[in-house]
């Protein structure tokens, strides 16, 4: 049968689908259909929103001692009450939340940035760099995070502030992301579209940033959220031990004072519940966010046709 039949033109042509399923816009659409992501994002947004709006109702100085009568339970004048040193807890929560988040973000971004760079170089180029890095990461991963952080923090105790704490935590935050991203890149490197890109004349940098990275974004996003979440946890740990920045009212510091000033024994339930509630919202939000991103990163979404 010859291949010249005119019937071909009456075959129904593929309709243009209005919105693409992958690509930047498609990503947003899939995100909105993802309940974990939406809920997680909502919680975090709520918290940040509260902190930003709250600034209009109080000042930074109120987060310090002697802003008001001490040990007041929540009332009309002091919505969140005051602590044993007279800090307005509303101000403390408003400013402290963002400060704690700031540490997390600095540490998370820095840690992920370092991790991604090392992972890509290691997995894509291979060779001695990969071997050395693998050994280093495998050894460092066994190092207990809090221990190292405690040592470093107590050495520089006096000059500690939130930024520096973020940097210190980042020094250890890169280990797990490096490992995970390296594995992903090793797999991606064998993808046919990567081979095609090499055939196109693409340089290693172009392949990494233009071909592999976009497909890795959800995965990187999930890793970032986890890194931030873990950094916040580490900072709370340090601060609760009294190694945090003495001059910035972070949530961890609040917990330190709360413990040291025997809030439990004095029955000051508001001082206990408030920072912990914020932390719960924070961690649950981060967890849901990363779970949502994980769903997208799952290759199940990639292959749409049989």
């Amino acid at each position: 049968m010859s291949a010249s039949a005119p019937a071909a033109t009456t075959a129904p042509a593929l309709r243009r689908t209005p919105i693409p399923r992958v690509g930047a816009r498609g990503l947003l659409r899939t995100l909105s259909r993802n309940p974990s992501f939406v809920l997680g994002a909502a919680l975090i947004a709520l918290l940040i929103g509260f902190a930003l709006v709250g600034r209009f109702f109080t000042t930074y100085n109120n987060a310090f001692p002697l802003s008001g009568p001490p040990s007041l339970p929540p009332s009309a004048d002091w919505i969140f009450g005051t602590d044993a040193d007279g800090r307005d807890l509303f101000a403390v929560i408003v400013y402290g939340s963002l400060l704690t988040l700031k540490i997390g973000v600095i540490a998370g971004c820095l840690g992920l940035g370092i991790g991604t760079t090392l992972a890509f170089i290691s997995a894509y180029r291979g060779g001695w760099f990969d071997i050395v890095l693998r050994v280093v990461v495998d050894v460092l991963i066994t190092v207990p995070t809090l221990l190292v952080l405690v040592v470093i923090a107590s050495v520089i105790h006096r000059s500690m502030n939130t930024t520096i704490m973020g940097i210190i935590i980042a020094l250890l935050a890169w280990r797990e992301p490096t490992r995970q991203i390296r594995s992903q890149v090793l797999v991606m490197r064998e993808a046919q579209y990567v081979k095609l890109a090499v055939l196109n004349g693409a340089s290693a940098v172009r392949v990494i940033f233009l071909e592999m990275m976009p497909n890795l974004l959800p995965f990187l996003g999930a890793n970032l959220v986890i890194a931030i979440s873990q950094a916040v946890l580490a900072s709370i740990g340090l601060e609760a031990l009294g190694l945090g920045s003495p001059s910035e009212p972070t949530l961890g510091l609040t917990i330190y004072w709360m413990m040291n000033e025997s809030a439990f024994m004095l029955g000051m339930w508001w001082w206990i519940i408030e920072p912990i509630a914020v932390l719960i919202i924070l961690f649950v939000g981060f967890f849901l966010l990363s779970a949502g991103l994980d769903e997208i990163a799952n290759p199940r979404l990639r292959r749409a046709e049989g």
């Binding site: 291949a3 693409p20 399923r21 992958v22 993808a191 046919q192 579209y193 055939l199 004349g201 292959r303």
Partner: protein, 343 residues
């Protein structure tokens, strides 16, 4: 004599203890444009050969040279020239497109990086005309995401990409094995057009002898990394010299009810035995119905019982020996003075 475009000089590949490809010597000239089929089953080394030629794998033995220079040590400009002149079509029409981008990306990237278009407008025109030449409507194909096109369309778009880039050599690695039978003709037809209209030599790698028979001029049959037979495709398929080739041809299921598999004889029991563990003799010895004791001791050289065909088998001992370096001429990659290429 001009430097050949691409040259395999005793190039072979080892993975640990396993030799995936025994040393091959082949020269591909620019002015000869045959379609060479490289046939073999999985593990035969055909994919390794493609990876070596494309510079994806370094050779363990010998050298691969692009216009005289070792492919492993090409500088930036020479490497771009290599990419401009040696291109490929891969097997999986889905995996070859980056799912994050529209299909245009696979065509625009090389145009941009290899500096083949004068402007964005020019690139667009080139892409549209290439689509039309392979029978695709640009408005139905370009601008879409990979999953919005069928397998046949995606693969034809890959052929369009090859057309666009006008390479001097195209390596097609099982281009139709993942496409429906009724759509294969279209893709293979486009490949043939590429060869006849633009004089681009094609290396057609496949396990399917039937499509090779219809598309290619010459053929190499690989078995576990060794070239067991080579030559003019009509001769090799109709009169196979090597027992493995004969087995392959007999095992192709024919849609003709009066031509049963292997003339109705079942596959001999010897075929279920494992491959030989020693690498000294012929790799096919444990399964060969005509194996002789010497087959296990030493590898056979190439014999040429006729002008168009060679086989690596002691069954043809006594016939004229064939020098490996003359393979290129036999496969018509070099215009040899004693033979006219039949049209």
């Amino acid at each position: 004599m001009t430097t050949p475009l691409l040259q395999l000089d005793g190039a072979g590949k080892r993975f640990g203890h396993v030799t995936a490809l025994q040393p091959v010597t082949l020269s591909i000239d620019e002015d000869s444009a045959p379609i060479l089929a490289v046939a073999g089953e999985s593990g035969s080394g055909k994919t390794t050969l493609a990876s070596l030629l494309l510079g994806f794998l370094p050779a363990s033995m010998g050298e691969i040279r692009f216009r005289g220079e070792d492919v492993a040590s090409l500088g930036r400009t020479r490497r771009l020239a290599f990419r401009r002149e040696v291109q490929a079509i891969f097997q999986d029409p889905f995996a070859v497109y980056n799912p994050f981008y529209r299909v245009d990306h696979a065509l625009l990237e090389p145009l941009r990086l290899l500096r083949l278009a004068r402007s964005r407008q020019h690139a667009r025109e080139m892409m549209e005309s290439a689509c039309e030449r392979v029978g695709l409507h640009p408005e139905d194909t370009l601008g879409r995401f990979p999953h919005q096109l069928s397998g046949g369309q995606r693969q034809r778009l890959m052929v369009a990409r090859a057309l666009l880039l006008r390479p001097k050599l195209l390596i097609a690695d099982e281009p139709v094995s993942m496409i429906d039978a009724s759509l294969r003709a279209l893709v293979l037809g486009s490949l043939r057009k590429l060869n006849t209209e633009l004089s681009i030599p094609i290396l057609y790698i496949t396990h399917d002898l039937t499509t090779a028979y219809h598309v290619a001029d010459t053929i190499i049959v690989l078995y576990r990394g060794t070239i067991v037979e080579a030559g003019d495709i009509e001769s090799v398929i109709q009169h196979p010299l090597h027992p493995y080739t004969r087995l392959l041809v007999d095992s192709v299921p024919s849609p003709d009810l009066d031509t049963p598999w292997g003339d109705g004889r079942p596959l001999s029991e010897s075929f279920t035995k494992p491959a030989p563990t020693n690498a000294r003799g012929c790799p096919f010895v444990t399964r060969c119905p005509d194996a002789m004791p010497r087959c296990a001791e030493q590898p056979s050289p190439l014999y040429a019982p006729g002008p168009n065909q060679v086989a690596r088998c002691f069954l043809h001992d006594g016939k004229p020996a064939f020098d490996e370096s003359a393979l290129s001429g036999l496969l018509r990659f070099r215009a040899s003075p004693s033979k006219e290429k039949p049209s």
